[in-house]
Amino acid sequence: MSATPDTSPAYPSTGTAAPSAAPGTTRRTVLRRAAAAGLLVTPAAGLLGACATGGDGGNTEQATGEKTAQNPLGVKEDAELEVVIFNGGYGDKYATDVHEKLYQQAFPKAKITHQSTQAVSTVLQPRFASGNPPEFVNNSGEKFLDFGALVNDGQLQDLTEMWDAPSVDDPNKKVRDTVIPGVVEQGMFNTPDGQRKPYVLYYVSTVYGIWYSGKLFKENGWTAPTTWEQFTALCEQIKSKGITPFGYAGANAAYYMWNVILSQAAKVGGPEILRNIDNLEPDAWKADAVIQAARAWAEIGKNFSDKSFEGLKHTDVQLRQNQYKLAFYPSGDWLENEQKKDTPPGFEYQIMPMPSLTAADKMPHGAIRAAAGEGYFVSAKSKNPRGGMEYMRQMLSKAGARGFTETVGAATVVPAGSEGYQFPPGVASSQAALKAAGQNVFNMMFDNWYKELDTEARTATNELMFGRASAEQWAERIQKRADAIKNDSSIAKFTR
């Protein structure tokens, strides 16, 4: 989940090594050498044919086994399985120590290859282009593969069969009935022929909000504000104590901030505000609720933040909060796990929903953004897609979900997995907030669907929050980009 654009260029090296020919070479040796050189050229000519775009041939031969009660997806028991995990906020230990072990138990003859990376697209793009993709991919992080492009090219396995298979723990219950409602739908994408199919498993239950230290607030007698007046009044108090009231990292995590503004907008104008934005509706960004939210937060940026945060990375700003130099920080509930090393004892992460902006807000104060995060997919053109789906089924078992939760301290979309689990204070508070929100839960998808829109929103949000643009200008420029995407036939469109 962390966003660290660390990029170093890779220049093709043109080192040359010429074969040496001694001056006194006979004709025969020269010829022999020329022939040897010719041998070197031949494979290179083959390489020339293999362009960056690859061929369109894929693996047509896919492993299948017999379907049984233990093996409802018909996995070939000794087929290899390659698992690629994004090594980010959650690490990859949950895969090596939990899920892969579960799969191995179910299929002892299968050979599992594990790979973890921080740049999924860099590692996998050539694999997809050459028709040799790994079976199972955790497509996440700053450099995730474009879902739209994958869907359009038929690279993703239709997961309907997996969702309809009996679950590991209860053969009378389908897998789809073991997860929280909405998870299957969130992973559905429109196919080029106009259908909607579940292609992606979003596995981690993620709650977004504004975080503060329970300890800091208790010591100062502060309570989490519920209205905007309370919020600004508290910010005033915090400021007078020499603590920065609110801040986010502009250098690489500006999306944490557009998330705040849009969450605020959803509370003011209702969740359809976000649906319109996701669906690229005309003037969706210029809706009153969105402008109001942007204006309110721009004021907070102006009065209660620190200008230097624009040049800091998310870890820097998060560290400041751990040092009690910053009161409120917006993020998702991976934050606590991410900061585990730097959090002082007793810090006690707590989440709060956006304070209500107006008395006429469409959604109550408890309304919160919650979504299933971390996308996983199975490659349709891999050698063993059935194995990939089975791996997913194992992930969604009680043991799989429990193991994940115990390893990373976050809840999954499988409620049975976190039953009775003692969460650390931050996740416990976000789980409580989620429960309190009830039906008043909203989400947005545009950043997953249209990365260009995400980029534009980030840039514009920095301009807004650090005082170089007004709320209207902010909305105007993002809308302009949304319209451009809408009119760009090369970009696959999604709706919800």
């Binding site: 660390d6 990029t7 170093s8 260029p9 093709p12 090296s13 043109t14 080192g15 040359t16 090594a17 010429a18 074969p19 020919a21 004709r27 020269v30 010829l31 020329a34 050189a37 070197l40 050229v41 290179a44 390489l47 020339l48 362009c51 960056a52 775009t53 369109d56 697209s121 793009q125 997809f128 282009a129 450099k143 593969l145 474009d146 739209g148 492009a149 994958l150 359009n152 090219d153 690279q155 502009g250 250098a251 690489n252 500006a254 620190d306 200008k307 230097s308 624009e310 040049g311 800091l312 990365k451 260009e452 980029t455 980030r458 840039t459 920095n462 301009e463 650090f466 170089r468 090369s490």
Partner: protein, 302 residues
């Protein structure tokens, strides 16, 4: 000509030519072809002719990047060469003459090594280093001192008017060492008698610098200008690692390579990114040709 000359020549050339065609020529050709297609990195590219280029010409960010290359093209060679020349002069000639031999200022051997240090560091490390130097809060190298003195911090990378210049400063800092060495070598080959004669004629150091050193160094300067110009068309690594929001704030420091990277590897618009690459290719070629033509001036024989 001896019999068997061709196999001999081929034997020599086969490997380098193959490597060159596989790793240089063929990617270029592919980029030209890809720039005419719509390709999202997966699946088969779709031929769309010049549509990418049409879009390119109305792309504000593209022009912003091109403008930044314009600034870089002027500032980077000018500043770097000026500083490097000054240093090289001081290190080699600036100390006056001792026993009929022109020498550098005191401690020039030490300085020579120090100036070359940045050249030894990897670009990514330099960028990370300068993140610390430019950091906008009290733990920044410069701003920490400023804030201790009770002054306001300078937002090197956040202030849109300052950001590009902060990047240029890093590029200059990194490049100067190499050109000091290059110019030093050039100066070493200038015969001492010329300086002697100039000194006898009562020329000051400044006159000597402009009337003797520069004209006799013209060829080297020309080479330096082309090198630095080409470097000005790159700047990717420093911008990608150092700048805020990858080329920000709001594109204030972006360069073409950054946009190519973003379009290809973030937006998965490989066709469009290739079109930018082709544009960059022509910009670089044009620059190199122009420079060589414009700076063609009779070199002084000695």
């Amino acid at each position: 000509m001896r019999q068997g000359k061709y196999p001999f020549v081929i034997g020599f050339l086969a490997v380098p030519v193959t490597l060159y065609s596989v790793f240089v020529v063929s990617p270029y050709l592919q980029a030209f072809w890809l720039s005419m297609t719509e390709w999202r990195g997966i699946g088969a590219p779709r031929w769309i002719g010049f549509a990418n280029f049409e879009r390119l010409f109305s792309d504000e960010v593209f022009w912003k990047a091109v403008r930044h290359h314009g600034v870089l093209l002027l500032a980077l060679p000018l500043i770097t060469i000026a500083i490097a020349l000054f240093f090289a002069f001081m290190l080699n000639v600036g100390g006056g003459s001792r026993g009929g031999q022109r020498v550098g200022v005191r401690g020039s051997g030490f300085y020579r090594v120090v100036f070359f240090f940045p050249q030894v560091l990897a670009v990514a490390i330099i960028a990370v280093l300068f993140q610390m130097v430019y950091r906008p809060d009290e733990s920044g190298l410069i701003n920490g001192v400023l804030m201790k003195l009770g002054l306001d911090p300078i937002f090197f990378l956040i202030n849109p008017n300052l950001a590009l210049w902060s990047i240029i400063a890093v590029l200059v800092w990194q490049a100067v060492g190499f050109y000091v060495v290059l110019f030093s070598a050039g100066m070493a080959s200038i015969p001492a008698e010329i300086y002697e004669a100039a000194e006898l004629d009562g020329a000051s150091r400044i006159t000597m610098f402009f009337r003797v050193t520069i004209p006799l160094l013209w060829d080297t300067l020309q080479v330096a200008w082309v090198y630095l110009g080409i470097a000005a068309f790159d700047a990717f690594a420093i911008v990608a690692v150092l700048s805020v929001d990858s080329g920000g704030p709001d594109g204030a420091t972006t360069v073409l390579a950054m946009e190519i990277y973003r379009n290809a590897f973030v937006y998965s618009k490989y066709g469009y990114a290739s079109a930018m690459g082709v544009a960059l290719f022509f910009l670089t070629i044009t620059f190199a040709a122009l420079t060589l033509r414009v700076s063609k001036r009779e070199s002084v024989e000695y």
